[in-house]
């Protein structure tokens, strides 16, 4: 096999509970700002999306109406990434740009759902009545705002990204695999340039239901990820995080500047029924990355859910000297979007020649002096799936 091609991150698009764009995020991280809402769906803690006018990236109101929030956030952030890479509106490039997107499903109509559920609970839902209610009360195009692959569909429609389009599913692991697949394809010459990312809307009762089944929600009061030991769980967050990845040759040929390079992405499916399996999986992945910085940085998507976070912490404790940042403290848990957010913050930090300050009252996160040259991005799903990536400065 030929040596894999170098993969550069040449575009970053971020929209989150903190705001939009790279400068706004850099400033908010420096100020240790957190946008959290303990009231809206109390006792469940969420991080709502920052106020944004979607017109800037989704100019047609008709397009906005066809989407639910999870799709708007993603389509918006994808547009920011294309702008940042300098390829927005470049038909020649967009028509052959590959898209690998991680997604769950879209918002349900909770008013309709709750009416049906109440009717049933009170014994007022005769057999077959559910069909009629759904037929009469669901908005016909709601389905298109729910289908997992329709975020990619909307990005194609709004921004014209039309090479190939693949939507991966499966919570946290789906975006680790999206990045892994993109790096593999670009590395092997199967793709020159790809848009990779995910988005998540934390203001969603239907998502809370799924996570509440497993008792994973953070309740009552916001606390940073590393301080949740006695009250584990996650607050679902809101963000779109998209990256433009391309081969070094392709970027150089069009004069694009890299934020960083994405050297390696590895992923695993630890058998988590066995205690310690996640820690062992992380240990096994670490040497595959090629970390040689004496004081490396690690940005983790640690959820705060247990036992995953304790197992992750056990791994981190074996690597003293790491400057750790948990994105969950600031952004909440973004599920599919957590890993792309980590990649985005890693590339941003490398391009700005500094790591943003720790925001951790427990002291587990330490400050990092000087410019980071290697940042490891880690993701361990709240329930399954884990992986790591190495983001490095371009030499």
């Amino acid at each position: 096999m030929a040596e894999p091609k170098e993969v550069w991150i040449t575009g970053i698009g971020l929209l989150s509970s903190l705001g939009e764009g790279l400068d706004a995020h850099w400033e908010a991280l420096a100020a240790k700002r957190v946008n959290v809402d303990e009231q809206r769906i109390a006792p469940y803690v969420i991080h709502p999306i920052a106020p944004v006018s979607f017109d800037a990236q989704i100019p047609k109101k008709g397009d906005q109406r066809q989407m639910e929030m999870w799709q708007r956030i993603g389509t918006y952030a994808a547009g920011l990434a294309l702008d940042s890479a300098g390829v927005k509106g470049n038909q020649e490039i967009l028509s052959r740009m590959d898209m690998i997107i991680a997604a769950g499903g879209g918002e349900r109509d909770l008013t309709v759902d709750l009416a049906i559920m109440n009717a049933d609970a009170q014994g007022n839902l005769p057999s077959g009545a559910i069909n009629e209610k759904l037929m009469n009360e669901l908005r016909p195009t709601l389905f298109l705002a729910q289908l997992s692959n329709l975020r990619a569909g909307n990005i194609a429609i709004v921004h014209g990204v039309c090479g190939t389009s693949r939507t991966f599913m499966g919570e946290e692991a789906s975006s680790i695999d999206a990045a892994r697949n993109a790096v593999a394809r670009i590395g092997a010459g199967q793709s020159d340039i790809a848009l990779v990312g995910a988005a998540h809307n934390g203001d969603r009762g239907d998502l809370l239901m799924l996570y509440q089944f497993g008792g994973f929600s953070l309740k009552d009061r916001y606390v940073p990820v590393w301080a949740r030991k006695d009250k584990p769980g996650f607050a679902i967050g809101s963000a779109g995080a998209f990256l433009v990845m391309e081969s070094r040759e392709h970027a150089e040929a069009r004069g694009a500047k890299p934020y960083a390079k994405l050297t390696k992405v590895v992923a695993d499916l630890a058998r988590r029924k066995e205690s310690g399996a996640l820690t062992r999986s992380l240990e096994a992945m670490w040497p595959q990355l090629g970390v040689n910085d004496e004081h490396p940085v690690l940005i983790t998507g640690a959820t705060g859910a247990e036992p995953a976070t304790a197992e992750e912490r056990a791994f981190l404790s074996e690597h003293p000297g790491l400057a750790v940042r948990a994105t969950g403290t600031t952004f909440g848990h973004l599920v599919e979007a957590q890993f792309p957010l980590g990649l985005a913050l890693a590339a941003l930090s490398i391009s700005r020649g500094a790591l943003y300050p720790a925001n951790d009252p427990t002291g587990f996160e330490v400050e990092k002096a000087g410019a980071p040259t290697q940042i490891v991005v880690m993701g361990a799903g709240h329930y399954q799936g884990e992986g790591m990536a190495l983001v490095e400065a371009v030499k």
């Binding site: 096999m1 769906i41 469940y44 066809q66 769950g104 499903g105 349900r108 759902d113 709750l114 559920m117 109440n118 049933d120 609970a121 009545a129 559910i130 069909n131 759904l134 037929m135 669901l138 016909p140 709601l142 389905f143 298109l144 729910q146 289908l147 997992s148 692959n149 569909g153 194609a156 429609i157 039309c162 090479g163 190939t164 389009s165 693949r166 939507t167 991966f168 599913m169 499966g170 692991a173 789906s174 680790i176 695999d177 593999a184 092997a188 199967q190 809370l208 239901m209 799924l210 509440q212 089944f213 497993g214 008792g215 994973f216 695993d268 499916l269 799903g381 329930y383 799936g385 992986g387």
Partner: protein
Amino acid sequence: MTAPRDKFGRPIVVVTGMGIVTSLGAGKTDNWKRLTAGESGIKTVTRFPIDGMKTTMAGAVDFVTVDPFSSTSLSERLAVMATEEALEQSAIGSKGDFPGPLFLAVAPIETEWPQRLEVARAVETKDFGLVEYLAACGSGKFTSFHRRFTFGSVALHLAETFGTKGSPISLSTACASGATAIQLGVEAIRRGEADAALCIATDGSVNPEAMVRFSLLSALSTQNDPPQSASKPFSKNRDGFVMAEGAGALVLESYDAAMGRGATILGVVAGCGELTDSFHRTRSSPDGKPAIGCVRKTRADAGMEPNQIDHINAHGTSTPENDKMEYLATAAVFGEHTPNIPVSSNKSMVGHTISAAGAVEAIFSLLTLEHQRIPPTINYEVPDPAIPFDVVGNKARDARVTAVMSNSFGFGGQNASLILTREPA
């Protein structure tokens, strides 16, 4: 001697195992017999009440039961059945130890109505709202619903059952999902990243809400009586697709690896192609350009000329728009060779297996190559003059078939095509 490669110097990707479940039955033997006999698996739905539905039939797989029922559990079960058959045929690895990655096409997952209502009945207050309902969700009685209705749950079960390697990839590209799963496997083998890949596509989506959703988009046929006549691809009086369930599993291997272990080669995935349509969420571009581009890319990927394709296993959903667009795209790419290509749609008999369709139809394409017999498009009584394909209408046709193109086009502008051949080119 250097390893056998295709004309672009890439490892050749072969199929060494196939398994299938559709509304026609379980396994290749039954499916092929009934498919070539022109039998339909479409029936009036009996799984749930059909009161108030505009469409009342589907190609549901009723001979497989899961308890408690959920579309996700049925999808998982169908995938297991198809995979067991594929692995037995391939004889690769050992039980519970498949030597490669898993690529799984699966419908988007969410909590389903029976489970949603079960929770509702456990809510302590009357006239409850979201927060009271959430409290019931978190009572600890429903942890199995979290395990069941996370998007990664089917892949987790399959990866553990069959011992695939690495992080399994679950994907959705709507009606093209099955083809995309195969494509991901082909790419991994061509990269030299894997010698074998397990590509599975499954769909058990015949449930009330899924039918309502497609119905509200006016995508489904409403010609309910008789149900087996509803799916009529390429006919003038076609009026929509018929939802169906099924699963297809394929073991892909590099030619080298397959030969090295003395495996029987069932066929070759000679080419894959994909091109996104950005015209509309459900409709395809009126000029057909994206579909044309998709077919062209596939042909280029296989390094084949139009006259080397001697059968098209069409997407052929039986919706007014798809079938017309598929003809336009085919005619644009194949030009004067178009009338020489026999075309057929398996969906006339098995219905549209949605997320599974690309894999189910790839398997039928490979069986067509094996048996040198093209399955019919049934219900072809009133040909649409706007679609002058050589449709293999109503009766199977014996033919010399060396290369089949299998198309998949889906909502969200998803277009994917495969070219399958009997022997390495």
